[in-house]
């Protein structure tokens, strides 16, 4: 019982931030058909920027509001800054090229941004734990759990709701869905696809950065920690179906729970289990669990 609730809670927390990150990835893919490897850089930069802001604010209980402000602001800044630069100056020049080439370009960007972190923030790990400390912990179903981690689950739920509302209830959301479904038709309908791409890429990046920024207080932020998350969120997006929002939700839950289970039961097998499941899902459902429909070809 104890074991089950530990795995469940850990899995839930893990799934929550994985969902936020993967949502960014899947939206970018759905709209732009680009698998953005540099998504991990948004995550890392979000985490680093949030960390130094929190550390700068210092351990001070009057600051609690400011901590959260710093976290969200970091995510927004990273999303806009890098999102703008990457989309406008690199990706925009590549649309229509072979998609593998574009994936590789984002790989190149990822490498560059990784080393840029080393140069800007140094190699020492940062530990901005104050916000998490402040909220303390409580006992949930017999397990001691940090309250801050639980707010992560709440944040994920809010993000999921906003996203659902936006896509299904607003004019902009419907516009976006038409671009996702068929780019050519949208162009001929007079939608400015360029702008849609830019905004999408920035929002996707913000979500990635938000995942990193919000999770920073619970971990030790050190160089190279983003690669794991990229790899995991790829698994999430593929399991759920590339470009599908509900897919990202279910995918995160599956991967989150599996990982929590593996971490407590067989640490070495962590990646193995997740990828084995991904392989099984793809074999059974080649497009992932919730693949968006495709327009017809001939």
């Amino acid at each position: 019982m104890q074991f089950i609730s530990t795995v469940f809670l850990d899995g839930l927390v893990y799934a929550s931030y994985l969902f936020i990150v993967s949502l960014g990835l899947t939206i970018t893919f759905g709209v732009m058909k680009i698998l953005n490897v540099a998504h991990g850089s948004f995550y890392a930069w979000g985490a680093y920027l949030a960390s130094i802001s929190i550390i700068y604010l210092g351990d001070n209980e009057y600051n609690s509001f400011l901590y959260y402000f710093a976290i969200f602001l970091s995510a927004i800044i990273v999303g806009i800054f890098f999102g703008f630069i990457i989309e406008k100056f690199i990706l925009r020049k590549m649309y229509g090229e072979d998609i593998h080439l574009i994936v590789l370009a984002t790989f190149g960007i990822f490498w560059i941004l990784e080393d840029l972190i080393l140069i800007v923030f140094g190699v020492d790990p940062l530990m901005p734990y104050y916000p998490a400390m402040e909220l303390g912990g409580i006992e949930v179903v017999g397990v001691y759990q940090g309250v801050y981690s639980l707010t992560l689950a709440a944040l994920a739920a809010i993000v999921a709701f906003i996203c659902w509302y936006f896509l299904n209830k607003t004019k902009w959301g419907k516009l976006l869905q038409s671009v996702i479904f068929d780019r050519e038709v949208s162009v001929s309908m007079g939608i400015n696809v360029k702008n849609v791409y830019l905004v999408t890429f920035i929002i996707g990046g913000m979500l990635g950065a938000l995942g990193g920024a919000y999770v920073a207080p619970t971990i030790s932020v050190s160089p190279g920690f983003a690669i794991d998350v990229v790899v995991m969120s790829f698994a999430v997006v593929v399991i759920g179906g590339m470009g599908s929002v509900p897919g990202a939700l279910i995918g995160s839950l599956i991967v989150g729970m599996l990982r929590a289970f593996a971490v407590h039961q067989a640490p070495v097998l962590e990646l193995f289990i997740i990828y084995a499941v991904m392989a099984i899902v793809l074999i059974i459902k080649p497009q992932g669990l919730f693949a968006p429909p495709k327009p017809r070809k001939i």
């Binding site: 998609i99 790989f107 080393l118 793809l282």
Partner: protein, 255 residues
């Protein structure tokens, strides 16, 4: 993945059958990788683009997990490999080098023949228009499967030779996805279309990596990433097309 699989095949044959002959090693590596490629090909041939890549990645991670966990294969430490022999005689460093060159030339000849064949052209045709290929009466999946097995064989052979020349196999440096990433990088850098191009690309890659690492240990990834971007932008056809352009310009100047 097939690279690592070939390498491990060599290691296992040495462990269980005491096999160290260089020809046998190469053969086993090629055959083992080819068989694995043949088996997985039945699944993978249904997939395209990103899904193909992700499923391959998943398979290779599963293999990695298995190898890292398998005690009898040395877990994460891997296994060491004794020097190669030929007809019972031990090959020295140079002897091995000659044989490697020999195998590389065989591979080049074979790959060249494949690329010139109807099937070889068919793969370009498939990436251009699958529907048409089906309507011409050939199974797209079959063509992809054949090509997949061929690449698996080549990669397996390379892994086997690498194992023989390093004297060591382990999951981290042979099976992990970053190894495959490096190989893809070399391919992009060299460009497609000529067999010699990847060779130059590989040499240049090692060169850049070594120097970048010496000059700027903190920023070598950045240099590699930057190089990658620069190639994609300025010479999407890779180094090969760059050379072709140079040649073209020179001819023009001479005229």
């Amino acid at each position: 993945m097939y690279y690592g699989f070939g390498a491990y095949a060599v290691a296992m044959c040495q462990k269980y059958f005491g096999m160290t002959d260089i020809f046998l090693r190469f053969f086993i590596a090629v055959a083992a990788a080819g068989l694995l490629g043949f088996a997985l090909g039945f699944i993978l041939r249904r997939y395209r683009e990103i899904f193909f890549a992700m499923l391959s990645l998943a398979f290779s991670m599963v293999l990695y997990g298995l190898l890292a966990k398998a005690e009898f294969l040395g877990s994460t430490d891997g296994m060491s490999i004794s020097p190669s022999t030929i007809l019972g005689y031990e090959l020295g460093r140079f002897g091995l080098l000659y044989f490697i060159c020999f195998f590389v030339i065989c591979a080049i000849v074979f790959a060249q023949a494949y690329l010139r064949s109807s099937l070889g052209h068919l793969t370009t045709a498939i990436s251009d228009n699958e529907i048409r290929v089906e309507y011409l009466g050939y199974s797209v999946e079959k063509a992809i499967h054949i090509k997949y097995v061929i690449s698996a064989c080549l990669a397996g052979g390379a892994g086997g030779l690498m194992a023989a020349s390093l004297g060591q196999v382990d999951p981290d440096s042979m099976v992990l996805w970053s190894v495959s990433g490096e190989l893809v990088f070399v391919t992009i850098m060299s460009g497609l279309g000529n067999i010699l191009a990847p060779f130059m690309g590989a040499v240049l890659f090692e060169f850049i990596r070594t120097y970048a690492f010496e000059l700027a240990p903190q920023a070598w990834q950045m240099i590699i990433g930057g190089t990658l971007l620069a190639i994609i932008f300025f010479s999407p056809g890779g180094l090969w097309s760059f050379f072709q352009k140079l040649n073209f310009l020179r001819k023009k100047n001479n005229d």
